[in-house]
């Protein structure tokens, strides 16, 4: 195409309030370039997020179930990873609690009810039922 003949025109306001046409070829190119850069930038951000998400959670956090049955915690010892969730399910006809001194406390879990706790601290946590203290369990968080 002949550079002296503009293919793209735009209007520009003149100081006296009028309007004149200008060669907008370069302006259009610049606009296109800016749009391309923005799109590339957005794509990079999205890709970055996706990559970050994939790196932070190589495997989904697991939910572990502990049954409360016959006045006992089954299994009595449960070992989980940091960030995992433990769900206690009360299969007994009476209410129980999951109480770790200085740690977590479910309060009363009704017969048939459940209580979930996400492990946010590493360590070994001994817990009992505060209503029936002979009921003992251990949570180990790696």
């Amino acid at each position: 195409m002949n550079a002296s003949t503009p293919t793209t025109v735009a209007g520009e306001r003149t100081p006296d309030g009028g309007c004149r046409t200008i060669d907008a070829t370069a302006l259009k190119a610049d606009l296109v370039r800016r749009r391309l850069l923005a799109a590339a930038g957005a794509a990079a951000v999205v890709a970055g997020f996706a990559g970050r998400r994939a790196r932070a959670a190589p495997a989904a956090a697991t939910v572990h179930t502990v049954r409360i049955d016959a006045f006992a915690f089954q299994p009595p010892v449960v070992t989980v990873d940091l960030g995992d969730t433990i769900r206690w399910r009360n299969d007994d006809p009476v209410p129980h609690t999951v109480t770790a001194k200085g740690g977590f406390d479910s309060g009363a879990i009704a017969a048939g009810g459940t209580w979930s706790y996400t492990a946010t601290q590493r360590g070994r946590f001994a817990y009992i039922c505060s209503f029936h203290p002979t009921m003992k369990g251990t949570l180990i968080v790696r």
Binding site: F71, A72, D92, P93, V94, P95, F131, H132
Partner: protein
């Protein structure tokens, strides 16, 4: 005066023996009545302890008796309703009810540490007797599989209560 604790234990033992002496043992409707009555007796005593006990642990134990035995009764009633089994009154259930009324009447004459000790002493003897009845009479004679399974499932509640009551008995100097 015969201590209420041993009078009740004797009554339960005698009634259980009478039931055992029957050729066939208690039927499922009779077992249902025994279970519901046994729970109700302990709920009534527990309510009295909630209002009358002085020692905080004894009061908490009474509250737990009300909660747990209500829960067990709810499960028992739900099951017999589902099975269309109507609880049938019988000598063992009657004996439990009578013994329970005698115990409450006696406890109502006591207060302070005397009440606490008498209440807990009775709870130890009572849970021992009920556990023996569950093991020797109720579970072996239950015909319906679901009723038997429920008895097996609630047995640990009585064991836990007995352990707890014994610990309190020792704590109170019994």
């Amino acid at each position: 005066m015969i201590p209420v604790k041993s009078a009740l234990a004797v009554a339960i033992a005698a009634a259980t023996f009478a039931v055992n002496a029957q050729a066939a043992g208690p039927t499922d409707p009779q077992i249902a009545a025994i279970v519901v009555t046994a729970n109700q007796v302990d709920i009534d005593a527990g309510k009295l302890a909630e209002s009358r006990a002085t020692n905080a642990d004894v009061m908490a134990f009474g509250k737990m008796m009300v909660t747990d035995h209500t829960g067990v009764n709810d499960a028992a009633v739900a099951l017999v309703t589902k099975l269309h089994v109507t609880p049938e009154d019988n000598p063992t259930a009657e004996s439990l009810k009578k013994g329970g009324q005698q115990n409450v009447a006696h406890l109502e004459t006591l207060s302070g540490a005397e009440f606490d000790k008498a209440y807990i002493d009775h709870e130890v003897a009572y849970h021992q007797a009920v556990l023996a009845a569950v093991d020797q009479t109720l579970i072996p004679n239950a015909h319906n599989a679901e009723l038997k399974a429920l008895l097996v499932k609630v047995r640990p509640a009585f064991v836990a209560h007995l352990e707890h009551a014994k610990a309190l008995q020792a704590q109170l100097g019994g």
